[in-house]
């Protein structure tokens, strides 16, 4: 691991077996697998926000969950803060999760509806034994609430989640994470279920946490426009693989993979004078990608597919400063 790396992931794979009916089991012995995450490698630096962008089913959520070992990986290495995450036992996992936390997509489903805000947060404090005595616990909770702008803390102290708006609930979720002072936070679509007017507030909060506490973030989303606002680097995923990874403005202004180009063209622009573009790619993402790829997995939809694209899977190669692409047409840089 390099010096300022918080997380390094190498050749991570997750194959989910496909459940079959009895008849199919008898007729064919071979099991099929969905390649949810297929040979993914990347690293996250201290205080960096790395975005994972892709359409539904590209494996971005699975990836986020594997990092926390909420899902067991099929193979590969996850090195976090000098520890090999894949080999930890249950007890060690608990201390890992103190340093690596997750913010969930659904602020309605991720808070216990039968506990008030302060109790939800107290649970986190108690599980990880962060404080001695109630007074100290209260102090920690109060600070966290004010840090996520639920001020004054007393006003929210005894409220049930149902009495909070979506944005406020998501803030409680972030506050609960913040209390642990983690090194890395995985935010899985943290704003996709919120109203447009409060989304930016949550993104601002995430940025502030990074600036104040030096927390690294993995931002998982389908929305390139909002990812652009927060991410330092963006990785584009397609069918379980990273097809392009680069600093944010490079991805937006100089996308090299045809899939990235199509994604950017497809994002609607809030300006009525801009004309509607046709997206150059055809077809759909396969619903259950079970086949084993020996070719570029994007080639059936690619407008520029060459003979070579059918024959071999292109590796992720360096094409510029910090800019990597997995495309046969890309030329290697030094």
């Amino acid at each position: 691991m390099e010096k300022d790396e918080v997380l390094r992931v190498e050749n991570l794979k997750k194959y989910f077996p496909v459940r079959k009916g009895l008849l199919q089991l008898i007729s064919s012995r071979e099991r099929e697998y969905v390649h949810a995450v297929d040979d993914v490698s990347f690293s996250v630096h201290e205080g960096e926000i790395l975005g994972f962008i892709g359409e539904s089913g590209c494996g971005k959520t699975t990836l986020g969950r594997i990092l926390l070992r909420l899902i067991e990986p099929s193979s590969g290495q996850i090195c976090f803060d000098g520890i090999d995450v894949t080999s930890l036992n249950r007890k060690e996992l608990k201390s890992l999760r103190r340093k690596m936390q997750m913010i969930f997509q659904d602020p309605h489903g991720s808070l216990n509806p039968r506990r008030v805000v302060s109790e939800i947060m107290r649970q986190t404090v108690q599980i990880h034994r962060l404080a001695e005595g109630k007074a100290e616990e209260d102090e920690l909770i109060r600070n966290a609430l004010e840090e996520v702008e639920l001020k004054p803390a007393e006003e929210f102290w005894n409220r049930y989640p149902i009495l909070l708006s979506g944005g406020q609930r998501q803030r409680v979720g972030i506050g609960r994470v913040l209390i642990l002072q983690p090194k890395l936070v995985i935010a899985d679509e943290p704003i996709s279920m919120l109203d447009v007017s409060v989304r930016m507030g949550i993104l601002e909060l995430l940025l502030r946490l990074r600036d104040r506490f030096g927390i690294s973030l993995i931002y998982i989303s389908h929305d390139l426009a909002t990812a652009r606002c927060v991410c330092d680097r963006i990785a584009i995923m397609y069918l379980g693989k990273i097809v392009e990874i680069a600093p944010t403005e490079d991805i937006i202004n100089n996308p090299l993979h045809p899939y990235t180009q199509a994604l950017i063209l497809a994002v609607p622009v809030p300006d009525p004078t801009v004309k509607l573009h046709d997206v150059p790619i055809k077809g759909y993402v396969p619903l259950t990608p079970t086949e084993v790829f020996s070719s570029c997995r994007f080639h059936p939809r690619c407008p520029y597919a060459l003979e070579k694209c059918h024959q071999e899977e292109p590796p992720l190669i360096k094409v510029g400063h910090d800019h990597y692409v997995a495309c046969t047409r890309a030329t290697k840089a030094n």
Binding site: Q168, D195, M200, G201, I252, L265, P268, D271
Partner: protein, 316 residues
């Protein structure tokens, strides 16, 4: 004559906590061959508003006051039977979640045929033939007419919904968040389809969404809704160039764009109000950066300025 005129419409939901004023005194008109986008955050009353146009408002909701005049007739006064005849060939609607709106145990072809036979006296063969044409119109192969909804992806189900809605050549089409929850590429394909259809069929459309960018790409005119009221109505180009109402301005600033320079994020402080006891005076005043004393007391009325309608005390 305008195709649709909505006058002082009020729809309340009567709950144990009191009346929720989901739509509170809304008026607008829609001319033939126009597209109107209704934008607003969740809970601002936009779906309730268009449900009233189809007369779908059910208890505890009730249309308390107002008129909805479609082609010169107030549809709130006609009989249920007449209303039923109007839905489909008159006003048709594409619902928010195509997943739930389609019948899972009926082939998509049958669902289109059902719609046609309900409203027109044609033979079954003709109806099936038209159903096949409808599917092809929305970009699905006619061979899939005997497929069930679960055999389609989300984007294709939404296409089927559009095929059903346009089967009887409606004179007004309502689309309620038609592309929400779909992936960007599928979303773009669907938006292209909708604008093609619009040009082909000269269809007036009311398009509901919370997505500013989707409205910008599809609608000629926009109405911005906030807490049960329309706060600004203008042509899309002028609204996006120079929003007049502070809420429209804030909404524009809080929307990230992938084009141009990376701007600074600006969120609107606070959250939308509950509609049981909305703020007195202007409903946006607790979140408004330009709030004045009058905003806390008096509700602003619609004022005309440069061909647009704005409800704000700042507008003289």
């Amino acid at each position: 004559m305008a195709l649709l005129e909505v006058e002082h419409l009020k729809i309340y939901y009567f709950t144990r906590q009191g009346a929720v004023k989901a739509v509170d005194d809304i008026s607008f008109t829609l001319d033939k061959d126009k597209t109107l986008g209704l934008i607003g955050e969740s809970g601002c009353g936009k779906t309730t508003m268009v449900f009233a146009l189809m007369r779908f408002v059910a208890p505890p909701g009730r249309i308390v006051a107002g008129k909805i005049i479609f082609e010169g007739r107030d549809i709130l006064t006609i009989s249920d039977k007449e209303m039923r005849r109007l839905r489909g060939p008159g006003i048709a609607m594409v619902f928010q979640s195509a997943q739930n709106a389609l019948n899972p145990v009926m082939t998509v072809g049958k669902q289109i045929v059902e719609e046609i036979l309900e409203h027109e006296s044609v033979t079954k063969e003709e109806a099936w033939e038209r159903a096949r044409k409808q599917l092809e119109l929305v970009g699905i192969s006619g061979d899939r007419i005997k497929s069930y909804p679960h055999e389609f992806s989300g984007g294709m189900k939404q296409r089927v919904m559009i095929a059903i809605a346009t089967a009887c050549n409606p004179r007004l089409l309502i689309l309620d968040e038609p592309v929400t929850g779909l992936d960007v590429i599928v979303q773009r394909q669907l938006l292209t389809l909708l604008s093609d259809l619009r040009e082909e069929l000269h269809l007036p459309i009311i398009f509901i969404t919370h997505d500013l960018a989707v409205v910008a790409e599809t609608c000629g005119e926009v109405a911005v809704m906030y807490a049960g009221k329309i706060v600004e109505q203008a042509s899309t180009v002028s609204l996006y160039k120079e929003p007049a109402h502070p809420y429209s301005q804030a909404l524009m600033k809080s929307y990230p764009s992938i084009k141009g320079k990376k701007g600074k994020l600006r969120s609107i402080p606070g959250a939308p109000p509950g509609l049981t006891n909305p703020p007195v005076g202007c409903r946006f005043h607790p979140r408004c950066p330009y709030v004045m004393d009058i905003c806390r007391q008096e509700e602003p009325i619609f004022k005309q300025r440069d061909g647009r309608l704005v409800a704000c005390h700042l507008i003289k």
